[in-house]
Symmetry: C2
Subunit: 134 residues, 2 copies
Amino acid sequence: MLNNQQAEESGRAQLDSVFQALTDPTRRAIIVRLCQGPASVSELATPFAMSLPAIVQHLQVLENCGLIRTEKIGRVRSCSIVPGTLRFAENWLAARRTPAERRLDRLEAFLESDDPQTVTTGQQGTRQLGETNE
Amino acid sequence: MLNNQQAEESGRAQLDSVFQALTDPTRRAIIVRLCQGPASVSELATPFAMSLPAIVQHLQVLENCGLIRTEKIGRVRSCSIVPGTLRFAENWLAARRTPAERRLDRLEAFLESDDPQTVTTGQQGTRQLGETNE
DNA sequence: CTGATTGTTAAGCACATACTTAAGTATCGG
DNA sequence: CCGATACTTAAGTATGTGCTTAACAATCAG
């Protein structure tokens, strides 16, 4: 089996595995859940009509590409996101923006920063384009 | 064959197919190329040690998920990106940011807009975190 | 018209992915 | 110690993915 800190693949290979991981709706839902804080394997499994081994396999995919980190304490394995890895994929996409899009982005960021609530609460006061969750 | 404006899948299914499409390094390289402007099928194929049908299959994947659009004129099929679809995936990732990350983003956008070169040239005057191309 | 270019269709193959069930192992509570 | 909890391991299966080759179709240039 692979060791857990092996996710130091170089560039292309990691992008492969991260996008691959995000392909699956179950895995994306797990990511969404973990963005709200750590959870155990069985906590993560409950929302899904799927066997526990299936969930564990999804978690292994997420861990192998560096999207999550897990730690076993006693008989419970606690899972949490590694935020930087999501940003890694996001930055690749951001680099594909057109110049016009880049200008619009800065405008949006400016408007967003105009609202102090957004900064302090951390919840989306301003809706993004596209969907924000599933 | 599927019609081209079919990519009106609802939310989850489109995210599936977009991330799925971005998994493959060949398809990502095609996207990178098309972000610099339209190209024909054989133009897109030349950099790769792969048969033409293989490239066409990749293009079909990209078109079916709405990442690119193609038009056949005479015997040449011209391919171009659909920028909004990349943004769709990017926005999903952006919605998974932590509050701290959101604050940092606005700071970056502010610093970026401080440099008029960046705005007019459209090339990255400021390097993003992570890699910007392959 | 003819032959070269540009792409298309179809069939098939090797390997990966997303599950399943069945049978473990390890910890904890009493 | 003993049974319940929380995973873990192994093996198997159905379907999907990324290619290949071979043969075909359509257009353009001379």
